[in-house]
């Protein structure tokens, strides 16, 4: 049997993976350029970069761990992956918003930025879990696992995003 880890790593390295890398690369390039143009903050750019990439790696590891407990390879794993990427974009977009808003204040307080982002991330995490819970008892097993992956993936993604925001913007 194919090693599930190699299968999921292929999502990022094969044909489908190369497409995802292009998407990720363009989105990152646009987001980082815009953020740096608006804020001139290297810390923010680093936080965005680390958050986006590490959360992607964490998602892969999570799917791998789930596959280890006997779920097998899920051909539709791209569905939660794309949804979680969009959520990550919204979440990091929020961080950029808070940073720009804080820059407009007289006294720039990075702690305030990350506190606001924590609030946003908490909301995203709780909402993702709630929506997953809504779907769990209603659908058949393969889709059920996709919904669970969506919920957990969303929580892990926003948590990773916030961790790097805190680490690189406040604790620098």
């Amino acid at each position: 049997m194919t090693n599930p880890l190699s299968y999921y790593i292929k999502i990022y390295t094969n044909y489908d993976g190369s497409q995802l890398l292009i998407i990720t690369g363009i989105i990152l390039a646009l987001m980082l350029t815009y953020s740096y143009w608006k804020t001139k903050s290297k810390e923010l750019v680093l936080a965005l970069l680390a958050g986006f990439i590490v959360s992607q790696v964490m998602f892969t590891l999570m799917v791998y761990i789930i596959s280890l407990i006997g779920v097998g390879i899920l051909p539709l794993v791209h569905l939660p992956f794309t949804a979680v990427k969009l959520l990550s974009l919204v979440n990091l977009g929020g961080l950029v918003d808070f940073y720009i808003e804080e820059l407009a204040q007289k006294n720039f307080d990075p702690d305030h930025v990350t506190r606001m982002h924590f609030k946003l991330s908490l909301k995203h995490g709780v909402l993702a879990l709630l929506l997953s819970v809504a779907a769990v008892p209603l659908i058949e097993t393969p889709s059920l696992w996709l919904i669970i992956i969506l919920g957990l993936g969303a929580v892990i993604t926003v948590a990773t995003n916030h961790l790097f925001a805190r680490l690189l913007i406040v604790e620098k």
Binding site: Q19, I26, L86, D97, K123, I139
Partner: protein
């Protein structure tokens, strides 16, 4: 007309009625007419909107045929064919150390072909027989299983999965007489040629282009673009203007290599675009598309054959309309409860947001149902949940809203453009749903504000 605007006059005593009537007549101005028309238009637009919203809700919700039995609206479920192939790969014994790598490469190329051709789901795994073909001194045999869910025809699947498509150029053997009338098929036997080193590896890509042929008919041509440092350069210099054998797997035919290769390749300029190797392939667009996929998805270095193939039948999503709607309604209720009790938003905001989201999703579902667009309800449910998840930020009015929403749109659009299979589908559908959400926000704001003022007699 004046009487209609004279309603305040009824409050006056009889003694003043003439005076009042005169004064009221004076007050019927253009402005009054404008106000009246404005109110009338508002009522009409509210009526139309109410009818529209109720119709959309009727079409979008399941089991509404129990209310009006003559009209039934259900999702047209996308029907996909499931197929399973088992391929027997032959690995040369001398390549045993690269066995895993070559098998993985083969799987990746077949997967790439299928996704490019529009397959919805592809899973390729190793396969173990109880009685496989035993390994020999020359070949090792390995098996892979290809599971595919798609709308592709059997012949397309057979070509994409079962054909290796390995290109090699050959030279005719000197001792074979291809002009012999007693053996007119001599040019179609691969034994009558000597293989050369030039293979598909020596071309950086194969461009499929529609061009007029010698008779003026539009035909698809395959333009082989050679690599700068590949073997084809030397081959073309040596054999330009000669007949060569053009073989894909075991089928071969003869063609004349243009002599124009020589001047182009001996030129010191780096441009070699005019020295491309071109052959006519077909007039059928779909065949040309499949040929494009076959030539440009990578080179399979292993020989293989289809050991077993099986059509598993048609499948639809197991999530039916009722279950789909019920799940979504529960999710929206939870979303509303979270915003009201935990995010501490006002009842008005929560209601407005839910109305906007419900209206947008219902409008999209109604469109899909009304025009019988085939959908996969599992994917649609997933997309709806994703839109619900990001809708709060999308609708939240703040300074950075335009930028944030632009990012989401750009993200969804990029996923649509660069994605494949379901990923591209999700990008497109989420972008459409977000556009519907933006329109719904404007309509809902107008509807709720005006309906509220109408109901409160404001």
């Amino acid at each position: 007309m004046s009487k209609k605007f004279n309603f305040k006059g009824f409050k006056l005593g009889k003694q003043n009625s003439d005076k009042a009537s005169k004064s009221k007549k004076k007050k019927v101005t253009k402005n009054d007419v404008r106000v009246f028309l404005g109110k009338a238009l508002r009522y009409v637009s509210l009526m139309i909107l109410t009818v529209f919203i109720l119709s959309v809700a009727y079409i979008a919700l399941p089991k509404t045929e129990t209310i009006i039995p003559d009209y039934r609206f259900d999702f047209t479920q996308e029907e996909l064919q499931e197929n399973r192939y088992i391929l027997e790969l032959q690995v040369k014994a001398q390549d045993e150390d690269q066995l895993d790598k070559k098998v993985e490469e083969t799987k990746a190329i077949i997967q790439k072909r299928l996704y490019k051709a529009g397959a919805d789901e592809v899973a390729i795994t190793g396969y173990h027989f109880d009685n496989p073909t035993p390994d020999t001194d020359y070949y090792l045999y390995r098996y892979i299983q290809v599971y595919v869910k798609s709308n592709l025809t059997d012949s397309e699947l057979n070509e994409l999965i079962g054909v290796r498509n390995y290109l090699r150029l050959y030279l005719p053997k000197d001792d074979v007489d291809f002009e012999n009338e007693e053996n007119p098929y001599a040019e179609y036997f691969i034994e009558n040629y000597n293989p050369t080193n030039v293979t598909l590896h020596d071309f950086r890509n194969v461009l499929i282009k529609r061009l007029p042929d010698s008779s003026g008919t539009e035909t698809y041509f395959a333009i082989f673009k050679p690599k700068t440092f590949g073997d084809f350069k030397a081959f073309a210099e040596e054999h330009g203007g000669e007949n060569i054998g053009f073989a894909v797997d075991e089928s071969i035919y003869q063609l004349e290599l243009p002599s124009t290769f020589k001047p182009d390749y001996t030129s010191t300029s780096s441009s070699s675009t005019k020295a491309e190797f071109t052959i006519g392939i077909t007039q059928d667009a779909r065949v040309a598309e499949i040929t494009d996929i076959m030539f440009n998805s990578g080179v399979i270095t292993l020989e293989y054959n289809v050991y077993e193939s099986e059509a598993l039948g048609a499948v639809t999503s197991p999530i039916k309309s009722t279950l789909f709607s019920f799940t979504l309604i529960v999710a929206m209720l939870l979303f509303g409860l979270y915003n009201y009790f935990i995010a501490k938003e006002s009842f008005q905001t929560v209601f407005r947001n839910l109305f906007e989201i419900a209206f947008a999703l219902a409008a999209v579902f109604s469109f899909l149902k009304f025009w019988y667009v085939p959908v996969n309800t599992t994917v649609l449910l997933f997309e709806s949940l994703a839109v619900l998840l990001i809708s709060h930020d999308f609708l939240h009015k703040s300074e950075g809203r335009l930028t944030r929403n632009l990012f989401i749109f750009v993200g969804a659009f990029l996923i649509y453009i660069f994605g494949f299979g379901y990923i591209s589908l999700i990008g497109r559908d989420i972008a459409i749903m977000l556009i519907a959400l933006s329109i719904s926000e404007q309509i809902s704001e107008y509807y709720i504000t005006n309906m509220k003022s109408y109901l409160l007699n404001d």
